[in-house]
Symmetry: C2
Subunit: 358 residues, 2 copies
Amino acid sequence: MLVIEDFGYKVIIGHGVLGKLVDALNPGASSVCIVADERVYSIHGQKLISCLPETMRVEKITFPPGEAGKTRQTKEFIEDTMLGAGLDRDTNVLSFGGGVTSDLAGFVAGTYMRGIQWTSVPTSLLAAVDASLGGKTGVDTKYGKNLVGMIHQPRAVLIDVDLLSTLPAGEVENGLAEMVKHAVLADRSYLSSLVRAGPMFTSDPVHSVDLIAESVKIKAIFAAHDIHDHGTRRILNFGHTIGHALELATGYGISHGRAVSIGMCAELWAAVISGLFESADLEYVCQALLNLGLPVSLPKGVSPEEILQAMTMDKKRANGRIFISLPRGMGKPYANMERPVVVVQEDTVLSALEKVAK
Amino acid sequence: MLVIEDFGYKVIIGHGVLGKLVDALNPGASSVCIVADERVYSIHGQKLISCLPETMRVEKITFPPGEAGKTRQTKEFIEDTMLGAGLDRDTNVLSFGGGVTSDLAGFVAGTYMRGIQWTSVPTSLLAAVDASLGGKTGVDTKYGKNLVGMIHQPRAVLIDVDLLSTLPAGEVENGLAEMVKHAVLADRSYLSSLVRAGPMFTSDPVHSVDLIAESVKIKAIFAAHDIHDHGTRRILNFGHTIGHALELATGYGISHGRAVSIGMCAELWAAVISGLFESADLEYVCQALLNLGLPVSLPKGVSPEEILQAMTMDKKRANGRIFISLPRGMGKPYANMERPVVVVQEDTVLSALEKVAK
């Protein structure tokens, strides 16, 4: 069992750490309100309940799985269910699920009676290494993802790797892409470790406590001291500007992990063209992604022009210039950590996209 | 013009301070989004617009006036209008109105793209001396008032007393009751000043810059260092536990100010019965309220039992005990500032209510 405190609260990682659940709750909690999607609750719900004392008041609120439910309406449904049950300010919200669940449950906790405590138990690799860390919460609107939300830190995050054993392969990919991102930003040797562990890791992330812990630590380097996302934290958008445009251009027909993988390659090409990144390192990263089963080129039928077009719908573009979070070399996120976002001209982005077109 | 910085941001009070509006906005703002109800905007909108530079992008979002519109639906309407207009994270929300508007606009700003800056220009006395100060924001649900919200501090509050000249008498009452509350909690001489200024004040609050400033300073004493409402700030609920029950019992057929006035008298009776407050001081406060045109006894047809019943719907009651924020004498909010909430037995509350019954 590993305990990482870099975020200002405990992130506990290991086998069976769900057994520590009671210690991760607010000691003064009058009750616990589990928030989970129906799929996760049907698989792991009984295990979770068995870790809570029988004397504790426990409410359970479930909703249909999937990003489509990450809306203000679902937030309202959860709030009204809590209010109807008479839950007070001393309630501890318990987020139990992937990124959609922690975004929703954390946001509900952040605004319930002007803010109550919450604890996060991620059940996907993406949530474990990224979404459940750093306090970003929110919901989607028809205008885009995560446009309404807030920063609300959990009081603890419990990463029980045994819960990750039931993940479908696509879910593992989503987390792996973020782990590679962390490696590129902070630590070349971590990328080598990921590649070495690759086949074992993708078949069963249960055996990878140390690799997950490393990713948590790297995220903390950038996110823990910039909770409002004005400075260093923005470098964590690396791979996501083009990745997000690719998701939009395909109508979310590609997984987030695969989109970010291709996005990282394209953005590194933009960095190489701009003289910020060594082409040998770019090749190393692309090869690592391939070895981990992640794609490095645009899917068939998606053109560079379409991706560029999709970027006009993104808040990171203004007046023909595109803002991209680019590292300046392996493990060198940016020479000046306070300015991790680089302005790139559209034609540079187009050239980079052509490099990753099939 | 007075500038009070006790909250950690500037509260500017005076005649014509709307002229300082540009200085109160975020210097890096890409645009300003005015949020106001239709009534306030129709009266003062042009004056506000004339204080903004012509070169600045200004969006305006209005909604029907009244507490009934302080809902998640109105919040969503404002958010979607902002998103549809393409407003980014560098937008400065400008709340222009009474307490309903600042609660809504501040909450929208707190969750728009995970939090953007806002500036508050109160146009009611209640908002000037209470609602716009301290960063409490939120909306109502069918389960009660302010049950969903957050603390989000404005970057500045501009109290232009000239905007208060068009207030109906009922609106002045709402603010006055909170000013009396501040006086009871912190400063006997301030209560005398209020009574002396009474007739002039109620006919036209425009002449009362110093009295408004004093109330702002007193609120800061309790609220500024307890932004999350766990300690000293709770004393500001004085008068509101019974006042809120009275609002509920009458189906909001009584103004907030009149309900709080009666609530303060009843709660002080509970304090006298409990040996926490001198009966001579209680008489002094009641006489002051009467002199200011505020009521000190229950409206006809409302019984003490009904009020007690309404308290069971309030989150401040548990297991036959009632939690009330009580001062321990004029200007002595509580001997131990960290524990401003007193547990009172139901029969004490009933006896106190009988004292204020007609």
